[in-house]
Amino acid sequence: MVELNTVIFDVLYLLAAILFIMGIKKMGHPRTAVMGNLLGVVGMLLAAGVSFLITLENEAIQNSLTLPIGTIVGAIFIGTLFGTVLATRVQMTEMPQLVAVFNGVGGLASVLVAAASLMATKDSSIPVEVVVAGGVSGLIGAVTFVGSGVAAGKLQELNFFKKQLPIPTLLRHVLNLAMLIGCGWCVVEMIDTSNVLLYLVICILGCALGYTLTTPIGGADMPVVIALLNSYSGLAAAATGFVVDQPVLIISGSLVGASGIILTSLMCKAMNRSLLSVLFGGGMAASYEQDEGIYATVKRTTAEDVAMMVDFADRVVFVPGYGMAVAQAQNAVSDLAAMIEERGATVEYAIHPVAGRMPGHMNVLLAEADVSYEQLRTLEEINPDFDEVDIAIVLGANDVVNPEARKEGTPVSGMPILNVDEARQVVVIKRSLSPGYAKIANPLFAADNTSMLFGDGKAAIQDISAALKEL
């Protein structure tokens, strides 16, 4: 007979799963997003609470409750402490790294749960499906853990992670494949022998795989990688669900997996690259001949000139890129925008889907600087309007505004870009004329209606604000 308690616990688990689904659904709209997040919190509290109660009632450990309860409560306390510190202390500009770190931590947790579960199995032979699920959990979890670590390191611009592997691309693919096959072999062997040590081998291979997969991926592809790792951390949780036989884990894990995949494909589309080409390198045309004298007609301008231009404008559009995040210029931009608005002009922000280093990176930074999300325009919204824009101020963006994308046969061909060059006047704030990630020159910088304002993004914006104040 099924006991009443079991039924109640199962229904509560189910409720938690439904709360997650509703929470994620509500996260899809700015107005309900806060509520959605809170629903997620409630669901998590419920799920953790039920698990705790189940442990309390477990008859196998009734005689020695102190050890398990002590472990659980202590571990929850420590985890909460670290989590709170990280969540409250980290700067908004470091958000991509933080999200990557949380991804990795979640992946490692899945690895450990599967490990503990396999080790705690009492009898000599572990069921086939548990072994397989455990292997999958260990592999994906380990890849997520190390992959996220590498991604976070790259985003933090640590030198260690900038190094490329001294292995040729083809050999790397072979090596990766070999490691994957090795994992498969370990699982098969583990089914036969129930030797838990093989799980350790899987984890080590997973870690190595995570490293070799993410290290060659460049900084501008990070939005894709982070979204993908997010998906992986969910899939690892789902696999763990099969190990411990808990549908709530399977449901929540696959929800996260699905959401991560959607974001990944959105990012890929925005970069005009296939997921495979991001993951395995290549995809970009190797060499592209450009006119040497392309920058011959570049015009310089000064903050005072820009201020004067802005003073006459009716419609100003900021085009932020990763450079804004690096220069931490979001507050300066917001202040300047407020001044421009006081003079009666409208200010908008044109945001390319892959501007920055994580999905929606620019939106978060601008939100931190008190920019209303109603002023943020997506690529589809703003592109038809650019010919009515008086001044487009490009701040630390390059490839996403490169008109070469509209031509055939360039490395960025076909990539959706912001049609900044159609604006009446364009001001590009940049430290130098150095190329962006695609390593090609940008004809926009030399266009007739473009003037360059060289310098640090934040300082340049503040100079413009100061000059505007004096007008």
Partner: protein, 182 residues
């Protein structure tokens, strides 16, 4: 518009019912797996299906039906566990579709909070981590217990940090409107 919303709602309900049904089937099969063992009162559905509770002799005849090459494996694969596994896979597939359904067309503004929020939800491994503690204590494996404890710490960092950061970001998004109005 209103009509459209209604259809959406019904679709939702349908998906939830399917999920619930899948879960029930999974749980029920699990009970069947665990119940033959007299000394193990089926209190928890949480434990991984303890194979010692499956009387091999009685059910070995069913192995053939479970089919697939897994029957060759050292551990016997019974029909009950097969069904439980299948139900689990069904839940997985349906959930993936629910996930796709829920998240399509999220505005770009919310990509980051959505990612960190869903990332926090992947900290649901906390459930597995807590449940496995009892098994670890029961089997007296201290290393496993240590790993489980560590897993709880990490999952908790994931959960608290993820939700915390998401809330921090989202409150920035919403505070603007008030400021503008003021």
């Amino acid at each position: 518009m209103n009509n459209l919303r209604k259809i959406n709602w019904v679709k939702w309900l349908g998906l939830c019912v399917m999920l619930f049904a899948g879960m029930l089937v999974a749980q029920e099969n699990l009970e069947q797996v665990e119940s033959p063992a007299p000394e193990e009162a089926a209190v928890t559905t949480s434990e991984s299906p303890a194979p010692d509770s499956v009387p091999d002799e009685q059910l070995s005849g069913l192995e053939e039906e479970a089919g697939e090459e897994e029957t060759e494996a050292a551990s016997s694969f019974t029909i009950d566990r097969y069904e439980a596994l299948m139900a689990g896979i069904a839940v997985f597939i349906v959930s993936v579709f629910v996930g796709f359904e829920v998240i399509t067309k999220v505005p770009q503004t919310l990509h980051t909070p959505l990612m960190s929020g869903s990332n926090a939800i992947s900290g649901i491994t906390i459930v597995g981590a807590i449940l496995v503690v009892a098994d670890c204590v029961d089997s007296g494996d201290n290393l496993a217990l240590l790993l489980a404890g560590l897993a709880i710490v990490l999952a908790m960092v994931n959960v608290v940090g993820g939700f915390g950061v998401t809330h921090r970001m989202l409150s920035m998004f919403s505070s603007k409107k008030k400021k503008k109005a003021a």
